[in-house]
Amino acid sequence: MFQNAKINEKIAFSLLRMAMGLVVLFVLVILYYIISNGYSVISLEFLTSMPAKRMTAGGIYPALVGTIYLIIGSMAFALPMGILAAVYLNEYAKPGKVTWLIEMAISNLAGTPSVVFGLFGLAMFVKYLGFGPSVLAASLTLALLILPVIIRASQEALITVPREYREASLALGVTKWQTIRRVVLPAAIPGMVTGAILSVGRVAGETAPILLTGAAYFLPRLPESAFSQFMALPYHLFVLATAGTNIAQTRPIQYGTALVLLIIVLGVNLFAIAIRNHYRKKMHR
């Protein structure tokens, strides 16, 4: 019987190994396809020139710039808001109905599909507030989408600040806010930055919300103001891959665009991890 158990264990463990192997394989295959087909397309020229010949040639400049605008615009709203909200929840909030309500709202915002945010952005920012399909409407929509991510990351960063720091500061006759500003926030900043950077990747990659709030199929120029429509990388890729004038002919451009997106998102993730490790080392010296 013990022999049996041993054999079962062998079988089970090989299955587990295979499952893990399969997951790793998925990652490698996806990365391989995008990178091997995309890297020869990417050049400075590709990044800095306008699409040409009805998007069958040329570069992705306006889409790249549009995505950068969206990142800046949405972070400008979500970052301060998210950090302040996290400070409130971790340092001031007392357990009770209001706090429960806030926590519940954040969890549910985090789980709401991005296309629903798109609908909301369309109804509220584009129509009701009259921003029209625009960089502003899309940025605000994306800001709401990443707000829960930033709040959660900031809360996690605040939790890791030892209670002793707070007590030591308060016991010196320092006010609560000054304790937070001088001791708690400095210690939590690296973690908060990590969370913020991760949400940059999210903003760069989201398509459905901007599709409904102002992304343009094609624009031969950069957005002129916050109220202009814009091109963006993920939507550009979608358009070329599914609705372009000549899907097969633009395949290289599609791979190139996909790779640029991937580089932005994964690069940003690596950067975030590097920052976190750097500060972790510093703290544990």
Binding site: A5, L16, I34, Y92, G205
Partner: protein, 295 residues
Amino acid sequence: MFKRNGMEKGIESLLFISAVAAVLALFLLCIFLFRDGILLFRDYPLSSFLTEKSWYPTSINPRFGLLPLLLGSVIVTVGAIVFAVPLGIAAAIYISELASPRVADILKPFTEILAGIPSVVFGFFGLVVLVPYIQDAFDLRTGQIALTGSIILGIMALPTIISISEDAISSVPRSIKEGSLALGSTKWQTIHKVTVPAALSGISAAVMLGIGRAIGETMTVMMVTGNTAIIPGFPSGLFEPVRTMTATIALEMGEVPQGSDHFHALFAIGSVLFITTFIINIVAGHIKTRYKFKL
């Protein structure tokens, strides 16, 4: 002293307002979503919306039947979960119980790469690689079918399932595992008789969140499932093109006149989607808090 207290209070209020903004955002989201959704039912009865079996939004006698889209979402999601849950849990067990800490430290961020890849890139990959492959493999007219969507969505749900399950499994106290091992159980017996059952509620929360992620995904399914709004058979529907709720909104919103019945119908679909994920979140949260108390 008064000035200092005033400032402290002022700052606390500012922080409070920022936190309450999340509630306000959710509240406004509901208002705007439901308001435009409910307007559909001025002209089109709610009962038809819920029971009508077809979605012909642009014909002269338009029909806005939820069922084909809802079931489209369901079949793609079920396919994804059937595929991703066992795989994800197995990988999570491997990472937390079998892999050496050094290997685990590499595998964790590696699987997280999947979470970072934008859904449009997954959709693109599905379209250019998986769709032709599936078409050939099953000898079909088209590879843009529910199954293709399920596979890609499953891959996308993997990082959520793996990381939360892994957390749950690693947080099972060592003493419990050692207790089992000390009784002469093999490592595998300990894993599937003791460790995994102890982590079960955490794992269920992971599955719920994976479902939430899959059902709300838009771009991927839109690019690989063919987008035909017919009620899918089960399980034969897996091999036919389907249309999900999310894809419908994204596909059609660009072409509808604002304020038309069709426009409002899309908001009604969005409301159904929102309510569905809302319930999933609540359940997942509930499971998660329960398991926290238990350990």
